[in-house]
């Protein structure tokens, strides 16, 4: 019997503005993918270490230990729930970036280190800091797919524009073979009672029309999200009926479907050209 070959999905969650639910999106999406039977690796590259705080994890080793101190991958990974492994970050990530900044081919660091271990996973999600750092460049070169959560305020929109352009800037920098693309703009913390929400959503549609990046289904604002973080639980475990979770599940399904079909199409095209 032929073994089913599933596509590995690598995704960076990025927006150059802080406080737009990047980490929350990464954590909830990781759990959503896991509930659909996918084996997920969640990598936190933000030196604030928010994933560790949100999920109440206490890892012995962090991302910096894996990147620059030659610690084994298994030592740095902690299991947050079945099918979800996490590599947490701490202040040392900044030190790791300084160390890596002088190494040749530094943007390929993640590709070099994580590609050896990706066979054990179906989805790799990378949460990045709200500024363009070396680890974010490494993450984008490695994953080549970027999801941009956008909060319902104006500066978040500016952060989204910067994130889309960061991907384009990387593509311009490299000679060939690199195709970092933004796979979607994800409106989060949407409260339709507010006038600002309608304005930002209209602006997103305009951005989408100009850049060709699709706007994904909205995530409604929900007080269950910060409460789940307060009790150090995944939202799916804290409140399985929350509206934000339903929205995130819908987005997770959409991402899986679209990326899988895209992969199949690419495979078919390659076979045809061969």
């Amino acid at each position: 019997m032929e073994k089913e070959v599933t596509q590995l999905i690598r995704l960076v969650i990025s927006n150059q503005r802080g406080g737009v639910a990047k980490t929350t999106t990464a954590v909830i999406l990781a759990r959503s993918f896991a509930s659909k039977g996918k084996r997920v690796l969640l990598i936190d590259t933000d030196s604030q270490g928010s994933i560790r705080t949100i999920l109440g994890l206490k890892p012995e080793f962090h991302l910096a230990d894996f990147l620059i101190r030659n610690m084994a991958f298994r030592e740095c990974v902690v299991q947050a729930c079945p099918n979800v492994d996490v590599i947490c970050s701490n202040r040392d990530t900044t030190e790791a970036e300084v160390t890596l900044s002088n190494s040749p081919f530094r943007e390929l660091t993640f590709e070099r280190l994580f590609s050896e271990h990706e066979e054990a996973y179906d989805v790799i999600l990378i949460d990045v800091a709200p500024s363009i750092t070396l680890s974010q460049q490494c993450a984008m070169v490695y994953a080549q797919q970027v999801l941009v959560p956008v909060g319902m305020e104006t500066l978040s929109l500016q952060g989204a524009v910067a994130a889309v352009n960061a991907a384009a800037a990387l593509n311009r920098f490299f000679k060939k073979g690199l195709n970092v693309r933004t796979i979607g703009l994800l409106p989060v913390m949407v409260d339709r009672r507010l006038a600002l929400t309608a304005m930002v959503l209209d602006s997103l549609k305009q951005l989408s029309a100009d850049t060709g990046v699709p706007v994904l289904p909205v995530i409604r604002t929900d007080s269950a999200v910060p409460k789940a973080a307060r009790v150090r639980q995944f939202l799916a475990d804290f409140d399985p009926n929350s509206k934000a979770l339903a929205d995130y599940n819908e987005v997770a399904t959409l991402l899986l479907t679209s990326l899988d079909s895209e992969h199949e199409q690419n495979t078919a095209n390659q076979a045809k050209s061969a």
């Binding site: 150059q16 030659n70 900044s101 002088n102 190494s103 040749p104 081919f105 530094r106 943007e107 390929l108 590709e111 070099r112 590609s115 500024s131 363009i132 070396l134 460049q137 104006t154 929109l157 500016q158 524009v161 910067a162 352009n165 960061a166 991907a167 384009a168 800037a169 990387l170 311009r172 920098f173 490299f174 000679k175 060939k176 073979g177 690199l178 006038a195 600002l196 309608a198 304005m199 930002v200 209209d202 602006s203 549609k205 305009q206 951005l207 100009d210």
Partner: protein
């Protein structure tokens, strides 16, 4: 007498009015359009970016590069004799293993050997496709370069492809210092310079097999 009625003041708060959408170009200043990625163009002194950087990026890197005087070249392992004569070819002394490799070869070796620490020989079980994906090189180029590495004694095959267990062909990749030492022991001190793939040669520019 025709008296105009007084205008009724609008009692709605300004914040409750519908807002016009923002044109994203309004936010797209230089920093945003360039993705705030100016650090991308500051490359480590030991790296040759021409292997992967686009022509426009190369120009920008060159513009932003620090003065050459600030870059200290690594000390040679052994003092090299001065070449006596050059017969029709440009040659250069073999100081590091990078001297004997093309730019693509340098990237491939980096991908196969891993982190730059000199930690003895390391096994590499990556396939052509994986190496090609990691290095952004063509698969055929990877195959040719690996054959070149073998010919230069930089790696040797320690395990073959097993279709039953789907384990890939495994190479043992020597460390940079071990490779350099081996070449020195074999009396290889010079390589050809120029646009072609570097080849081992004598001080007079004659080809020298390993």
């Amino acid at each position: 007498m025709n008296k105009t009625p007084p205008t009724k003041p609008n009692r709605r708060k300004p914040a409750s009015q519908k807002l016009a959408p923002i044109d994203w170009h309004e936010y797209a200043n230089d920093a945003v359009l360039n993705g705030n990625m100016s650090t991308l163009f500051h490359r480590p002194a030991t790296e040759d970016p021409s292997a992967y950087a686009s022509p426009e990026a190369l120009l920008e890197i060159e513009k932003r590069a620090p003065k050459p005087a600030s870059v200290t070249p690594p000390p040679p392992v052994r003092p090299l004799p001065i070449p006596v004569a050059v017969v029709g070819k440009k040659i250069k002394p073999l100081r590091t293993i990078q001297d004997a490799l093309t730019l693509a070869g340098q990237i491939l070796y980096q991908a196969m050997y891993g982190a730059p620490e000199d930690a003895g020989p390391r096994p590499c079980a990556k396939g052509y496709r994986q190496l090609a994906a990691e290095t952004h090189l063509d698969k055929d180029t990877v195959r040719d370069l690996i054959a070149d590495f073998k010919a230069k004694g930089m790696l040797r095959e320690i395990g073959s492809y097993n279709p039953d267990t789907r384990t890939s062909k495994t190479y043992e990749v020597l460390s940079p210092s071990a490779i350099l030492e081996m070449w020195r022991d074999a009396g290889i001190l010079y390589v050809t310079a120029g646009r072609q793939r570097p080849e081992f040669c004598t001080a007079q520019g004659q080809p020298q097999p390993l």
